[in-house]
Amino acid sequence: MISLKEVLKKYPKKEEYLIEILLEFQTSKKNHYISSEDVSTISEYLDIPESQICSVISFYTLLSMTPKGKYVVQVCHDVPCFVNDATNIYEKLVELLGVSDGETTPDSLFTLEITECLGCCNVAPAMRINNEVYTSLTPAKIETIINDLRGEVK
């Protein structure tokens, strides 16, 4: 994990880099969120009000003000995936993880989210775990992916 100070050093002190900073720092954090202390630090560095930073974080779905799991599972549910059985994929994930949309598993390993189109409609249904995209999903494939991730941790 890279510290916030190190991330900040990479960017000029300009408001326009706020989203870049937030994304880079959040990605590097285990629980994928921006804490209120982080907001204060960024606010001071860029000289923009905390209310504005919170406004930005709360606007974008890839940014979060609350902790998430180590793996953020985003499953697409838009029309091209929906007509290709995305509902079953989502249900399989609910079954495997024991949580539903927007929830995090008690062991803080997985957060499940229904997301907007991932632009993989040619290989639907699709999902994304952190920055990795998984396509042409089937319930069996999902099981392997989740089990592999669980195994990695152990």
Partner: protein, 572 residues
């Protein structure tokens, strides 16, 4: 010039005129909601849409520039239907229990619904009731009533540069709140109340304190007295249906008497007292090499600001209490003695143009017996208006009466405290004459008058030229504070008022305040000054008597005990 048609009427306007401006000029009414004079055009509510010939879309008249040959229809069936639908949508996500809302009959949304003839909503309510923020003594935020017009963000950001409020979330879930949806108490809110003054609905309102006042008035064991701030005499009439800028000083006294107050006093008296104390503080600092510039302390919004954002410059703030608090302190000491009353049985109410005064009165420092507040309750101009209406008083026709003694005589210098630059001018009238030991040829310091954000003037004091400055709005206060903080301030004395125009534009003043209305109130304030027999604080015989009788001398022991205080860093 641009020639075009609205509703078949030929219209000719200057280039770059919006359709809305053009229509209003020609007395064609287009309803608006998010639009507010002096604030930026947001075109968010979409209520002001009009139809332009040849276009499928409807256009917001507030933001669309009139073009040559345009044919505009402001009331076509398509427009009327869209407007109505939009309003129904807003109402479906609004806590529309109008009869028990403090903004009832004063609500722009309600007025609009009535105007558009909405008697049924096709859309079911989608309101998710959320908690109300009532943790501070000044303002209540009820986001269930918020219609997301963004006016409050505008004043908080651009006029006050406070940035307490912003839009959180997105889509239908947006909320206008402080960061993390926290309470105003957790943020650097100064309680200036400008947000409450522009809110079209009842989403941000002052904390209503009329109940404890009624209770006190009905308590036979209490001696209930009231003080009236300088700015209220040029705005209560407006609040009660008279023209903006109406001077109603004596009517206010009568109305308060009618409400049952035992005595009605003028905060102008302690404004004069402030000038004597603050003027002497300035002279003392100049002659004895004290911390300069000295900055005024009458405005509680400014004090909240400086304590939270610029604690480094607290040394520069005058140690004088504000006129409101000087009055409270005197009421529970000098006045109690004189009237042979137990201070505990004196209940002090103030009528202020201000919401931050509610916070100031609650401060620990503002208790001369360290337990009971010197000022028990602060009411805004609007709240007093409410009490007057509750009692069915016909304000316009009420016969006036003078303020009570012993604080009966006041000066023009005190009256102008209500306008930006007023404290400075009042102080200069006194300091000049005291230091230079000569009478001013012209007592009108016009350099510090007017609504420029930052004003400066140069005066000769004891043979040396010194500079002074005046700022109103916190965005301008920030500029002067930065100079002070960096040691680059060229001034000896700085007046700061948090609200645009000074107290006459305060957060507790009548709704619908605009630059134009502020100017009318300012004009009225200076008229009050002109009509006064005495126009310099140091010539006020009652003030002299107070020193002779009780306080002894400016900055003396008693003064320090009662009239001075200090402020603390509250940096968050």
């Amino acid at each position: 010039m641009v020639n075009f048609k609205i509703n078949n009427i030929d219209i000719s306007v200057e280039e770059n005129t919006t359709i809305l401006q053009a229509a209003r000029k020609h007395h064609i009414d287009i309803p608006t909601l998010c639009n507010y004079p002096d604030l930026e055009i947001k075109s968010e509510c979409r209520v002001c849409v009009v139809e332009i010939n040849g276009e499928k879309k409807l256009f917001t008249s507030c933001s669309t520039i009139a073009k040559e040959g345009m044919i505009v229809n402001t009331n076509s069936p398509k427009v009327l239907n869209a407007r109505k639908t939009i309003l129904e949508l807003i109402l479906a996500n609004h806590d529309a229990v109008c009869a028990t809302c403090p903004k009832n009959l004063n609500c722009e949304l309600q007025t609009l619904a009535n105007k558009l003839g909405i008697d049924e909503n096709r859309f079911p309510t989608v309101l998710e009731v959320k908690p109300i923020d009532n943790k501070n003594p000044a303002l209540i935020r009820n986001i269930n009533r918020c219609i997301k017009c963004g006016r409050c963000i505008d004043v908080c950001k651009s006029i006050q540069s406070m940035n307490v409020l912003d839009v959180m979330g997105r889509g239908q879930n947006i909320e206008i709140t402080p960061a993390y949806g926290k309470f105003l108490t957790d943020e650097s809110c100064t309680y200036c109340g400008q947000c409450s003054s522009v809110c079209p609905v009842g989403a941000i309102i002052e904390k209503d304190d009329t109940d404890p006042v009624w209770e006190a008035l009905n308590n036979p064991n209490l001696h209930v007295i009231v003080q009236v701030a300088p700015a209220v005499r040029v705005s209560l009439g407006e609040e009660l249906g008279m023209e903006p800028g109406s001077i109603v000083t004596e009517k206010v006294v009568s109305a308060l008497k009618y409400l049952g107050f035992d005595a009605v006093y003028d905060t102008d008296f302690t404004a004069d007292l402030t000038i004597i104390e603050e003027g002497n503080e300035l002279i003392d600092r100049i002659t004895n090499g004290g911390v300069l510039p000295i900055m005024t302390s009458c405005c509680p919004g400014w004090i909240n600001y400086v304590e939270q954002k610029y604690p480094e410059i607290l040394d520069h703030i005058s140690s004088c209490k504000s006129p409101q608090q000087m009055f409270g302190a005197l009421a529970k000491s000098y006045y109690a003695e004189k009237m042979k009353l137990d201070p505990k049985n004196i209940f002090v109410v103030s009528i202020m143009p201000c919401t931050a005064k509610k916070y100031e009165a609650k401060r620990e420092e503002m208790r001369i017996d360290s337990v009971n507040p010197d000022v028990d309750v602060v009411l805004t101009t609007r709240e007093l208006g409410k009490m007057v209406r509750q009692m069915g008083i016909n304000f316009e026709s009420i016969e006036g009466s003078p303020f009570d003694k012993p604080f009966g005589i006041t000066t023009g210098a005190a009256a102008i405290f209500g306008a930006t630059g007023g404290v400075m001018e009042a102080a200069l009238r006194t300091v000049y004459e005291v230091v230079n030991k000569e009478e001013l040829k012209d007592i009108n310091f016009t350099m510090v008058r007017g609504t420029d954000g930052i004003k400066e003037a140069e005066v000769e004091l004891g043979g040396q030229k010194v500079k002074v400055a005046v700022a109103h709005t916190l965005a301008n206060a920030k500029i002067l504070s930065d100079q002070v903080k960096n040691g680059t301030s060229p001034y000896v004395f700085i007046e700061i008022m948090a609200c645009p125009g000074g107290c006459i534009g305060g957060g507790g003043q009548p709704y619908g305040t605009t630059a134009e209305i502020r100017q009318k109130r300012i004009d009225a304030i200076y008229k009050v000054d002109e009509n006064m027999t005495i126009r310099k604080s140091h010539e006020n015989p009652d003030i002299k008597a107070l020193y002779d009788d009780y306080l002894e001398k400016p900055l003396g022991h008693k003064s320090h005990q009662l009239l001075h205080t200090h402020y603390h860093s509250r940096k968050k």
